[in-house]
Symmetry: C2
Subunit: 465 residues, 2 copies
């Protein structure tokens, strides 16, 4: 197989090549993109030994970092691609491939007048810059989502996974090239300076997706004019309403806190309605203790839960702290309104959940809490692209524009308007003649978006030259 | 009627009040928002004399500016709200009101498992900052679109229209207050310093929409961390393909250039296929001359069109110049590919049109030109929210994220995910038990989004306190 270049040694040049690759990829057929994903899955399996050798090197160096206290044990575990993780990673490529083609979908069709037909069609965003944590499976996931959605991508992974990422990117690029996907659609950046350089390529890069620590994401947001999709904070709440089923409330609160304690959709603050507080704490305190969750509570929580021997006193800072640890802040509130105001004020507009048997209260909470995901009687941990059925996610956005919440393939597309006429001028409609617009909704897709969703026949490719 | 405050004397405080108003407005019923739009239309008619008196003052001062050469005659005309313009402005409020409610629409519904149902619902973006040119009717249009879509708005109009804008904003705010719309949803900024102050309110403002000159929009984009939706340039092209019907090509080219010569979707560059150039110019040159359009052409254009007496020589700068005047740059190209590359390189990704009778060529152009609006046998001047049937537009975006092209009500919404469960935890699905997700598509809308699209009954408002 031909050697395809994936490592960048000049970010500006790479970004410009990515734009060119993106323009070609945007008009590739769904069949070609799917065939490339099949080849990628097969190539990963074929290159398994080579990939796992590189990964073993990264893990060995990571273990030394753990010894020196420069890396935590959970992060070392995320670095390891061996065993079932490898198979799951390949399976994920096939699961992205199995999703419906997100491109050239007719989002709306309008007849402006007889013979003047307007279509809105989904198209790729273009060139993405994605910076992700030290999980090599993330590289495979992001590359698959970008290829399926027709986007070129500049990738920068955590340096602890450098060897693994390089082999993975090379395998992916080489496999895709064998299916006619243009070179340059995937590029691996190597250094932090590369990331800095990428942030100023606003002419060539359309969207930056940063994943990682709060401080890191904030740094990215503050240092680029390129739109950024992601989240800095994940300060999520569970509210136990007066009409809560206490058993459900305990289950939802515990799962929200500990099912993925270092994740962005883990709960950090528990709000408890005053009229249910004693009953709730009577069940919950022992359960939190059993799961080694330390509670930081306000005065009323301490009183209702059994004193400072059980609950440490919370300070104002607790309501704004994303612990990402076995710690939970707890506050007793007097009303649904107070809970909603607390969440809208201190929260990060990520994911918040109410536990209640009162449907009207639930609806009010769902409507008024200003967050990307708002849940009723369910753990905040459900806020995830895979769990939501999006296939996979490139990230979770707390911004209000474009994608919000877990972002999958659809969030990697934009649209364009296509208008077919027969020589019509605006003067026909707004000059001396003033023909009326009909603006009738058409129940058809764009005629050229048939079959796989993309044109690709020789006849359609040619002509006009 | 109660005096409602619309003028800001502290932009930070106004922005924070706007956020509070936006949270209330987001849960207002469609019926309340529509009733407010009815009251606004009626109030504008009732206050007609007062509004037109203020406008006469602005026009009188504008006329003095024209005398001193500080304002152009076309801009003075846009300032004048009298006569049919006033009626059309009121009619526009009623046309926005007649649009379907853009809020609480179920965009997707998925059953993650029995009793665990996920809905994606449209909601307002939140707080918008809109800066617009000296057209008082724009204030009415923007305010109507924001109210219909449940967004609070900070507005700053051109200073030449200050007196008119103040009366209009006061009339609108007072009328809306009479329908239970929260105070503070509309605020009028007064100075350029106010605009500068607004650009740093990223905590309270979700989106800036600037309308105006290239330099002004670029200044806004370069000086805020708030997402900006709009366009700096409108460098639009018409390509006359080898298979063009010459009559259509002349009509489309002329209309694209002169139907709205100062607008962003007017054509600035004409590309002509070499094999049709002589035939096309034989018809087009006299037509452009009759319409007083000056042509700047490359050497081949000059040769095909009859010499430098007819066509002035173009320089490299012409291909990047948005004239907004009766000037058109013209270039002869050898192929569809060359035309597409020219447009993707020099264009502003706004609106471009091909004239051809060859359907396959048209489809190739529509797919490969990387612009928000791409047309076939139709004038570039159709790129407009009203013409597209969107009701009205807040602006046209050349960005690739969120809204693209003409942006109407839908572009002023985002979405949130709502999940209804019965106490489910992620541990049930991904712990020791590992229940499968079903991820079935539900064919229902969110049960609480019935009728007007928003809940509003007393029972639903109460509860839980």
């Amino acid at each position: 197989m031909a050697a395809v270049r994936v490592l960048s040694d000049d970010v500006g040049a790479s970004a410009r090549s990515s734009r060119e690759a993106a323009r070609q990829l945007a008009t590739s057929s769904a069949a070609d993109r799917d065939a490339a994903l099949d080849r990628i899955a097969a190539a990963l399996e074929a290159d398994r030994d080579q990939i796992l050798q590189a990964n073993a090197l990264d893990v060995e160096q990571g273990a030394a970092l753990v010894t020196r206290g420069e890396l935590t044990q959970p992060l070392l575990q995320r670095l390891d691609l061996g065993g079932a993780k490898f198979d799951a990673t390949v399976e994920m490529v096939r699961s992205v491939r199995a999703q419906p083609d997100p491109l050239w979908r007719t989002q709306s069709a309008t007849e402006l007048d007889t013979g003047l037909r307007l279509y809105r069609l989904s198209v790729p965003i273009g060139v993405l810059g994605v910076i992700f944590e030290s999980r090599p499976d993330a590289l495979v996931q992001i590359a698959s989502l970008c290829l399926k959605s027709g986007n070129a991508v500049l990738l920068k992974g955590g340096r602890e996974a450098a060897a693994t990422n390089q082999v993975l990117a090379q395998t992916i690029a080489t496999a895709a090239a064998g299916s006619g996907i243009p070179d340059g659609w995937i590029t691996l950046l190597q250094t932090r300076d590369d990331v800095r350089a990428m942030l100023s390529e606003e002419e060539s890069i359309d969207l930056i997706i940063p994943r990682g620590s709060n401080e890191f994401v904030r740094y990215i947001m503050d240092n680029t004019k390129i739109p950024v999709m992601g989240h800095a904070d994940g300060l999520c709440h569970v509210f136990v309403d007066v009409d809560a089923d206490v058993g459900k409330a305990v289950r939802v609160a515990v799962d929200s806190k500990i099912q993925g304690v270092t994740t962005c959709c883990a709960a950090e603050t528990l709000l408890v309605h005053a009229q249910v507080a004693e009953r709730f704490f009577a069940s919950a305190i022992s359960e939190f203790a059993r799961k080694n969750v330390v509670l930081h509570g306000d005065e009323r929580t301490i009183a209702a839960a059994g004193g400072t021997g059980v609950v440490a006193p919370a300070t104002e800072a607790d309501w704004s702290t994303e612990y990402l640890d076995y710690v939970l802040s707890v506050k007793v509130v007097d009303s649904l309104k107070e809970a909603i105001e607390h969440i809208n004020h201190y929260g990060s507009h990520h994911t918040d959940s109410i536990v209640t048997e009162n449907a009207a209260t639930a609806v009010d909470f769902l409507r008024r809490v200003d967050s990307a995901s708002v849940f009723h009687n369910a753990s905040t941990r459900f806020a995830d692209g895979f769990r939501f059925g999006l296939g996979a996610e490139v990230g979770i956005s707390t911004g209000r524009l474009h994608g919000r919440g877990p972002v999958g393939l659809e969030g990697l597309t934009t649209y364009k308007y296509l208008l077919h006429g027969d020589g019509q001028t605006v003067d026909d409609y707004e000059g001396t003649i003033r023909k009326p617009y009909s603006h009738g909704s058409l129940d058809t897709e764009w005629p050229a978006a048939k079959g796989s969703g993309v044109l690709g026949s020789k006849e359609e490719e040619g002509g006009g030259a």
